[in-house]
Amino acid sequence: MKKTKITHFFLQKNKKKGFAYFQIIFAFYRAFVLMLVVLSIIMITKLFIKVTFDTQKAEMELFKEQLLYSKDGISLYDRETQLLYPGVIDYNLLKNKALFESKLLQGFYFKDKPLVAAKLEFSLPTEIIELTDPTYEIFEPIFYHEDYFKELAVLANTKLIGAGGAKMIKRETPVLIKKIIVENNLAVEKYIPAYLTITIVSSNS
């Protein structure tokens, strides 16, 4: 019977066992290098191909600007003259959380799940927080999609990445709160300087 010689280098038997083991280990090494080369080709090519678009951060930053500078955002807007007063907030609106929030829901209306949710916190600068100062007031935070914000804020704080997570940005900006007060039987416009902290969250999915 004719003997068949196993010639493949993986299975080649050698009288010298040590040399055979070396060949097997070397074969794995070669396979590893081969995979590395193939993966490198794939990665380098993919580097030049854009198949996904991540606009999440841009959308959040844009929404912050739109809240401040939109005619139906948080700043005062005169429809007659088409004049917007950026950063000037109506005191009466600020004290009426329900009305303020419904205004935002109407101004930025999403039929289904919104792209973003936001929280607006107004605080007075420390130099005017004095017990004797009658202007000192605490304002309730205003939400845009409150429930959704709270849900996403938890996810954002976990810093989870991927579709199940969420991202959060926090921006602070100085604003003026316009309040009409009565002094000597005259209505006087008063502008209270304040800080507005806008927190915006957005789902990764």
Binding site: L34, V51, F53, Y69, D72, F108, K111, K113, P114
Partner: protein, 385 residues
């Protein structure tokens, strides 16, 4: 060649073939990406979504022309808060954008055009394939767009249709009603006297009858007061604790002028409903609700929206959807709404209840349904506190 050399060569060849296969497969993948339009569509809708959001927020008039390569391959629509791209044999790709419900929307479908124009002006948001710089209208906003060339009104039936359907996007404000309606004022339009010189230059008082349909023998001032009387009864039944009053009766004399009408409103009123009609071509039958921007705008929008829904449901024979518009300053009833909405801090809405030239108009052919709709909406507003 010895055996070892052959073996090494064959191994190197196998590896080379493997790498070549991978490279070819990848080349095919890249080639398929080039053919696939999904990525391009995704990029376009995201850009359009952000653009639509930004254009709507602009405090002043703005026109943005979006023209990219390959736009003419697709069909675009901006329905129901989604930018949608359709392409034959492919699934629709969509992405959400927000709408500002304070604005009037005219969202045209754009089919295989070179550009998309997004514009915002005079409290309206327009998406169209051509540049629109305004609306042709004598009163408020109509949906006859004026092209950028200024060569008159663009005739496009599809545009009209879209404009009308887009109005249904205005949803009722979510805000609760601010206070109970304790005093409701019904202002029957026209029927006041104006001093005019006669042939001998003597001052005489002439009755303003408003719009008139000679064929049917009906006049605006008669229909409005008749409706106000019916509405007074209906509201008394629906809102028990409210005081209902009218600014004029059927028997006014020459002392009832426009100025006198203005004096009959007071700061104690809660809600003013002004009833009017308009005159246009016979085949048109619309109902338009006017409110003022600025003070009390949100609450005015809410009551107008409730009225819109009720009138839309109960009044038949309308050729257009019920519309809500901002009353322009040029309107002769602007001072009435201004006095109530801004000075007296009341809610005020002006109802143009049909075209007098159309026999199916709300006040002439179906006054009961019209009155029922207004009373129901007013009661709904009063209850939603």
């Amino acid at each position: 060649m010895n055996k070892k050399a052959i073996k090494l060569t064959s191994e190197a060849l196998i590896e080379a073939v493997l790498i070549t296969i991978v490279i070819i497969a990848f080349a095919f993948y890249i080639s398929s990406l080039k053919e696939d339009t999904l990525i391009e569509k995704t990029a376009i809708i995201r850009e359009l979504s952000m653009l639509a959001n930004t254009v709507q927020t602009s405090p002043q008039d703005v026109i943005v022309i979006y023209n990219k390569n390959n736009l003419n391959k697709y069909h675009f629509s901006f329905k129901e808060n989604y930018v949608q791209i359709k392409q034959q044999d492919y699934a629709t790709v969509l992405y959400p954008y927000y709408t500002d419900m304070m604005l009037l929307m005219m969202l045209q479908e754009i089919d295989k055009k070179e550009q998309i124009v997004l514009s915002s002006f005079k409290d309206s948001f327009v998406v169209s394939p051509e540049t629109i710089v305004g609306f042709a209208s004598q009163r408020g906003y109509s949906f006859n767009p004026i092209s950028a060339g200024g060569n008159g009104v663009v005739q496009n039936n599809g545009l009209q249709k879209n404009a009308q359907s887009a109005l249904s996007l205005i949803n009722c404000p979510l805000a609760k009603s601010t206070a109970a309606l304790t005093t409701i004022v019904l202002d029957a339009g026209k029927g006041d006297y104006a001093a005019m010189p006669d042939e001998n230059e003597q001052e005489i008082f002439v009755l303003d009858t408003g719009a008139e349909n000679k064929a049917l023998g009906i006049k605006e001032h008669e229909l409005t007061i008749k409706t106000a009387i019916m509405l007074e009864t209906a509201l008394r039944l629906k809102i028990k604790n409210a005081f209902i009053k009218k600014t004029r009766t059927q028997n006014e004399d020459e002392s009832f002028t426009y100025y006198e009408r203005l004096q009959r409103f007071s700061a104690d009123d809660n809600l003013v409903i002004s009833i009017r009609m308009y005159q246009a071509e016979e085949n048109e039958n619309k109902i338009i609700l006017y409110i003022l921007s600025g003070k009390n705008e949100l609450q005015n929008q809410k009551i107008a929206c409730l009225l819109m829904n009720e009138l839309q449901t109960k009044v038949s024979g309308l050729t257009h959807k019920v519309e809500i518009r901002y009353l322009p300053k040029t309107d002769d009833y602007y001072p009435i709404l201004e006095k109530n909405s801004k000075e007296n801090d009341n809610l005020a809405v002006l109802l143009e209840l049909g075209n007098i030239n159309n026999k199916d108009n709300a006040l002439y052919s179906q006054p009961d349904a019209t009155v029922d709709a207004i009373a129901a909406a007013t009661a709904a507003y009063n209850e939603d506190r």
